[in-house]
């Protein structure tokens, strides 16, 4: 048993180095597939970051009537916090709203003059609410429209922002669906390409497989070395790919950060390094084994 296993491994290694040209072709295809798998992983990280960035821009504000006491607003906030869809609430007092306005428009004399003309603080206190998902704002608004709150609330700006929020919701959910669809298609293409390359490589040795069969070799004794070659090709491809992706993320990271401040792709790569290594080796080794297994099966029927 162990002698056979040792012979299979030895024969696999020998075949790997003797069939250099074919192995280079297989490794090259595997590199493409592993790069694709890693890119999908990195892209999913990047797209989550961008979607979160966009979703942060989507929020609603609840403006309270002028005579509502601050303590009542805090009570409303306590009630809102209990809703599971609510991610965060920020209270903006009348004074804070005025300060923000002045800060934003201090360079605009017309607006400043108009404010002086009004003579008092025209801004209302508000609660700025953020949901976990843009699709959940309608539930929060429905909650605020119950009779308990309508006496306190002057207006909720959801209906003015709804088109923008719904658009963001639609874009992010479409982006997710497209991402999943593309991943599946690319994965299928990658598997087929790898399988075909391996099949071509093994097709060249079909006569040898037949001879081995006629000499009395068992299926695993014949198949084993091909599986070992598949594993070796997978490991080598994963190592090359890891080096390439490390270099690419390190090189591209500062350039991407120019467009998306805060998005450090090399940092994302470093944090998820073990997961990426696992993805790369699992993709390479599994593809190598499965495609070798399927490709040899046909020629073993002698």
């Amino acid at each position: 048993m162990f002698t056979s296993l040792r012979r299979i491994i030895k024969s696999g290694f020998r075949g790997f180095f003797r069939d250099g040209g074919l192995m280079v072709a297989t490794i090259f295809v595997l590199i493409l597939v592993i790069t694709l798998a890693t890119s999908l992983f990195l892209f999913s990280g990047v797209s989550k970051f961008i979607i979160a960035l966009v979703e942060e821009k989507a929020d609603i504000s609840v403006y309270f009537k002028e005579d509502v006491m601050e303590i009542d607003i805090f009570e409303v906030r306590e009630e809102l916090v209990k809703i599971p869809e609510v991610k965060g609430i920020k209270y903006i007092s009348q004074e804070r709203a005025l300060d923000d306005f002045i800060e934003r428009h201090k360079e605009n004399p017309v607006l400043m003059a108009s404010l002086a003309e009004v003579g008092h603080n025209p801004f209302l206190a508000s609660l700025n609410i953020m949901a976990f998902d843009p699709g959940q704002y309608q539930n929060i608004v429905s909650f605020l429209e119950t009779p308990d709150f309508t006496t306190l609330v002057e207006k909720v700006d959801y209906y003015e922002r709804r088109p923008v929020i719904e658009r963001i919701f639609s874009i992010t959910s479409t982006a997710n669906k497209v991402f999943i669809f593309l991943s599946i298609i690319l994965a299928i293409v990658a598997i087929l390409v790898t399988f075909n390359t391996t099949r071509l490589a093994i097709y060249n040795t079909r006569e040898e497989i037949k001879i081995q069969r006629l000499v009395g070799a068992g299926s695993w004794f014949i198949r084993g070395p091909f599986l070992i070659q598949g594993i070796l090709a997978g490991i080598l491809a994963a190592l090359i790919c890891l080096a390439l992706i490390s270099l690419a993320t390190w090189f591209l990271s500062p350039r991407i950060e120019v467009f998306f401040p805060g998005l450090n792709i090399f940092e994302f790569f470093s944090i998820n390094l073990w997961q990426i290594i696992l993805i790369q080796f699992a993709t390479g080794i599994l593809l190598g084994i499965i495609s070798s297994f399927l490709a040899t099966r046909k020629y073993l029927r002698v």
Partner: protein, 226 residues
């Protein structure tokens, strides 16, 4: 030891390879199968090796019905037979030594047995000097001797030789036949399929003559008559 009982092999309605073939082969016998190309010699050997299934009839090898052997048990069965082919069928990616050792490895021989037996057999077939050469680096005669060495290394009960001299010149043909005779004298049954008249006539052994898939003659100390 080997028994063909009313064996017929039909590939298609206008391609009948064997028709109602029956004969027995005893242990340690040297039997030649002769016939023109297409007479059914190779089909007969393929049936014995369970590479093909007969359309009708039964083939027994040491009491076992060859066609009832499950595919998972086929490797084990084939290890009892050594095969030599006209086109040598050596593993091109392995050296002469590795090709011969492979037949021992598949039967689970230890490393010591491989190291002990392969050089001996290489010496018997006169290929010691070519042990580390790949098949592409050997002459036709050397390749056939390597194939014979591989066929006999695991001491099979029977050796099937399908046109082993088909690609060789007369000198090398004689060389190969002498080797097969030596193997038979050592106690192995040899079945030789050939259409080489001179070889058959020089042997003075049993000859089964096939014509259009039928046995037309079966003689002890037979001659090549077609």
């Amino acid at each position: 030891m080997i028994s063909f009982q009313h064996v017929t092999k039909i590939y298609s309605c206008n391609s009948i390879a064997l028709e109602d073939v029956s004969f027995d082969i005893k242990e340690k016998e040297f039997v030649s199968l002769v016939g023109k190309s297409g007479a059914g010699k190779t089909t007969l050997l393929k049936l014995l090796l369970a590479e093909e299934k007969p359309t009708q009839g039964k083939i027994f090898f040491e009491g076992k019905n060859v066609n009832e052997i499950k595919s998972t048990r086929l490797p084990e069965f084939r290890r009892e037979i050594g095969s030599v082919f006209q086109d040598y069928k050596l593993l091109s990616s392995k050296t002469t030594y590795e090709n011969i050792a492979y037949a021992l490895e598949v039967v689970g021989a230890s490393d010591q047995e491989v190291a002990r037996d392969v050089p001996k057999v290489l010496e018997i077939v006169g290929l010691t000097e070519k042990a580390n050469n790949f098949p592409a680096e050997l002459s036709g005669g050397e390749r056939q001797r390597a194939a014979i060495a591989r066929a006999l290394i695991h001491r099979p009960e029977v050796i099937l030789a399908d046109e082993p001299t088909g690609n060789l010149d007369p000198y090398h043909s004689l060389d190969i036949i002498q080797l097969l005779l030596k193997i038979q004298e050592m106690g192995t049954t040899v079945i030789l399929a050939t259409h080489n008249k001179e070889v058959i006539n020089s042997l003075e052994k049993r000859v089964i003559t096939l014509e259009k898939g039928r046995v037309i003659r079966d003689e002890e100390k037979g001659r090549f008559i077609l």
